[in-house]
């Protein structure tokens, strides 16, 4: 394999398994074989993340404040050395979508987020059990009110519809029986408690099995269910690879689950599949707002997080800790609407402004460009297109951007110097508004 092709594959992997990369982060993976890079991302426990933890310590986040927990998480996405850990945490946040808007307790949301991070790669049965006992989840899906005699079905329905089997693989009767099994699973003083007095210990008929089931047994039945493996496999494939995969791959990923319900081997199967690396599956997913924002900050090597970044993400359609519904974010083309696209464009404009204002203090733009071998419109457009979209644009676009930039900024004199600053900002803004830049 050529170095060029391998480089492409590793950058694709870093974008999909994480949120993009800074030049330094790329260097850490560039010389690995592709399979080694996959292993390193998957087995992230070995990565020393103490620099991130120290940085977070220095920020003095208030975990009882909704904006602070959002910024805390963005810090993690931006500075972690374990990108897949954060990406997978985001996946589980969407899967087990829980919102501050109802829970109204940022600290409980923070605790839940830590739980996702801690259990993201291992036994799904453990994760499901922990989530089912998670205080934010109990409040979110009303299990607090689920009591013997008059069960509340909300959690029981969603655990099957959204967390394990998917719609169509259970009956209304299963919902009612599962609700009975989860009676008495409550929160007291901020922690999980089993309220025996509220629990219905009677016999239940659930998914063709019968017994005096409680929640733990229902979770066990659900996590061992063949359909759960298929449901999770499809969802992970859609998230990490896209909708373009065949039944055989779906079967292999589901098969990896069936062994002992571990998430890690499922991801390994996905990242090592031919489909993952195929040309048609590269730059084939719409970037989520997190991917767009964190990736852009990494690309431009911006290391400050503005206080209103969570609000900007929300305007793009991804309010962290506040997904739009119990189904989480639909993702894909659902990210694309006029106002969310405009919010992306305007974020790009703003972040470029900040970057260039900072660069001004570091010296002449012309000298910085010269170091990269950039000294005219053609080399300049080519350089930034390669950096930001791997050069993946139709030829007329290159021409049009060169026209926009013009020759004048590369002439001598004070006027040209100002013009270079103006047009470079415009050029980068325009590249970030390109359809190609919306894709990962």
């Amino acid at each position: 394999m050529t170095e060029k092709l391998k480089g492409q594959q590793i950058r694709h992997l870093l974008r999909r398994a994480g949120f993009g990369f800074t030049p330094v982060e790329y260097l850490a993976y560039r010389d690995l074989e592709y399979e080694e890079a996959v292993e390193r991302l998957l087995n992230f426990e070995g990565e020393d993340n103490s620099a991130l933890e120290a940085l977070i310590e220095s920020q003095n986040f208030d975990f009882t404040n909704g904006d602070d927990i959002k910024r805390w998480w963005l810090f993690r996405m931006l500075f972690t050395r374990r990108p897949l850990e954060e990406k997978l945490t985001l996946f589980w946040h969407g899967h087990f979508a829980t919102s501050l808007k109802k829970v109204r307790n940022p600290y409980a949301m923070y605790v839940q987020n830590r739980l996702f991070r801690k259990l993201c790669m291992g036994d799904f049965g453990n994760l499901l059990l922990a989530v089912s006992k998670d205080p934010a989840m109990i409040v979110w899906l009303d299990n607090q009110q689920n009591r013997k005699g008059k069960p509340n079905e909300n959690f029981a329905r969603e655990i099957m519809e959204l967390f394990t089997l998917g719609i169509g693989h259970y009956s209304e009767a299963d919902v009612k029986e599962a609700a009975r099994a989860f009676t008495g699973w409550q929160v007291k003083n901020g922690v999980f408690t089993f309220n025996k007095g509220a629990h219905d210990a009677g016999k239940k008929l659930f998914l063709a099995e019968s017994g005096n089931f409680d929640g733990t047994q229902v979770i066990s039945i659900l996590s061992r269910h063949k359909q759960t493996g298929r449901f999770l496999a499809a969802k992970l494939l859609n998230f990490f690879l896209g909708a373009n995969f065949d039944r055989a791959l779906l079967k292999r990923v589901a098969g990896a689950y069936e062994v002992d319900r571990q998430i890690r081997p499922m991801l390994k199967t996905i990242f090592l599949s031919k489909a993952f690396l195929s040309r048609e599956n590269q730059f084939s997913l719409v970037k989520s707002p997190c991917q767009y924002v964190v990736g852009t900050l990494k690309h431009l090597q911006i290391s400050t997080i503005d206080g209103d970044l969570p609000r900007l993400l929300s305007a793009m359609g991804q309010d962290l800790f506040a997904p739009p519904s119990v189904k989480g974010w639909d993702g894909g083309t659902a990210w694309l609407s006029s106002d969310t696209m405009m919010a992306r464009f305007n974020f790009a404009n703003r972040i470029i402004g900040e970057k260039f204002d900072a660069l001004k203090k570091q010296g002449s733009l012309k000298d910085l460009l010269a170091e990269k071998g950039v000294d005219d419109p053609r080399t300049c457009v080519a350089y930034f297109l390669q950096l930001l979209v791997e050069g993946d644009v139709p030829p007329p676009v290159v021409k049009r951007l060169e026209d926009y930039l013009g020759k004048e900024p590369f002439l001598k004199g004070a006027e040209a110097k100002t013009l270079l600053d103006e047009r470079l900002r415009g050029l980068l803004h325009l590249i970030m508004t390109l359809p190609s830049y919306q894709l990962v």
Partner: protein
């Protein structure tokens, strides 16, 4: 007297009722042979301005029983020992049902004849999943997973000259485009915050804006790009830049003219924006928006009452706003939810996912009143504990599509439904 209507959603072919027959013959007279002629017809009011429809979705499943309260049915109080709205506080619509006391403004609009309440609206074999049920309402295709919306198909039926004469064919006031607006021929823009909905450039170099915008448009117009997403990205990006430029020009004047007193909240902000767009002659035929928070599984009363109060005050302010801008005749509002809630309250002072529920249609052009029958509450009349529907939601859509928007409901909904005569 309020008009009462017995609707039969299964009406078809030989079982045609008299009213249905009349509707059909009207269709024939206006040119059934050329449905396109009907579809393209523009209904205008006296001043020659065009009509539009605002569709407000109460997201999460609104508890219909505590919204339009059947205070005259003793069974209601058996089903809702803790949650029932007391009979003496209800704002009566007739001797049997009344509005939740949080909705004083809507009760007043009802008295003025500007509010139609359609009872027991739903569809056969109700689905209790939020997502599937709202999809059914939005596509109006309960039997398949449709990929166009009922409003999208309506827009697709408009002829080209009609669409071209409009600044925007439709606008969604929400970050996510609802499936109801998915169309084949056009991409409907979404606008959430008008201040942010603008192609901005670096504050040091405002003079460069036109150059950048023109470069952006040139690039987007001929973006030849592989992959399934290219088309949608290009369409959305172009729609965003075009719509934002148009809207800013139009609403700059209209913004100042508002005198209505809106309550706080997102719903008010969205409705105010719609009023600006209508007054600014954006020309959209459809606006969509949603209000969240109706999934009241636990401790429902306070939350639900406060939602209904905000809804009622916001809608009243909206109608006042339209009136003060001189466009009240142009707008009709439909308020609906994906389903109602279980008849019997649960043990957590809340209610679980249910089925049929009432819809509201309001505006100056509405024939106010109570329509349809209230579902029976007797145990043996409930369907798996839920209210059975009395009016198919497509009967409501049919009236809106034909009698308000002047379109061809049959072409959009796939078959005929008896229309509820609230227009």
């Amino acid at each position: 007297m309020n008009p009462q209507l017995q609707s039969d959603p299964k009406l078809e072919g030989g079982k045609t009722s008299r009213r249905h027959f009349l509707a059909l013959s009207l269709l024939t007279m206006t040119g059934l042979a050329q449905p396109a002629a009907l579809a393209g017809r523009v209904l205008e009011d006296k001043s020659g301005r065009r009509r539009c429809l605002v569709v407000l979705t109460l997201s999460g499943g609104n508890d219909g029983l505590n919204t339009v309260v059947p205070y005259g049915m003793g069974r209601y109080y058996d089903l809702r020992p803790k949650l029932a709205v007391k009979g003496e506080t209800v704002l009566p619509l007739d001797g049997m049902v009344g509005l939740n006391p949080s909705m004083g403004e809507l009760a007043a609009l009802y008295k003025e004849g500007k509010l139609a309440v359609v009872q027991g609206v739903g569809y056969p074999e109700p689905n209790r999943s939020h997502f599937r049920s709202i999809e059914i309402w939005q596509t109006a295709q309960p039997d398949i997973i449709g990929d166009t919306g009922w409003l999208g198909r309506y827009l697709d039926l408009q002829d080209k000259s009609d669409l071209a004469s409009r600044m925007l064919a439709a606008v969604n006031i929400d970050p996510v485009l609802p499936k109801s607006l998915l169309a084949r021929k056009i991409t409907v823009p979404s606008v959430y915050d008008l201040g942010d909905f603008r192609f901005k450039v670096d504050s040091h170099y405002q003079d460069d804006r036109e150059r950048q915008l023109s470069c952006f448009r040139d690039i987007y117009k001929d973006y030849q790009f592989k992959g399934a997403l290219a088309g949608q990205l290009v369409k959305t990006g172009l729609a965003a830049s075009a719509a934002s430029e148009k809207l800013h020009k139009l609403t700059a004047d209209a913004a100042a003219k508002s005198s209505a007193a809106y309550p706080d909240g997102r719903l008010s902000a969205s409705l105010r924006l719609i009023a600006q767009m209508v007054a600014g002659q954006v020309g959209a035929r459809v606006y969509t928006l949603q209000m969240d928070g109706f999934d009241t599984h636990a401790n429902q009363s306070r939350t639900h009452n406060s939602l209904l109060s905000n809804l009622s005050r916001s809608l009243k302010a909206f109608l006042d706003d339209l009136e003060s801008r001189g466009v009240a005749d142009e707008v009709l509002v439909l308020v609906h939810s994906e389903f109602g809630r279980r008849a019997q309250e649960n043990d957590g002072r809340g209610t679980d996912h249910g089925a049929a529920a009432p819809c509201f249609v309001l505006g100056k052009g509405v024939k106010g009143g109570l329509y349809g029958e209230h579902p029976e509450l007797a145990a043996n009349k409930l369907v798996q504990g839920d209210l059975g529907f009395k009016t198919d939601f497509r009967s409501v859509y049919s009236a809106l599509l034909e009698d308000w928007l002047g379109s061809d409901a049959r072409a959009i909904l796939g078959r005929s439904f008896e229309k509820i005569p609230f227009v």
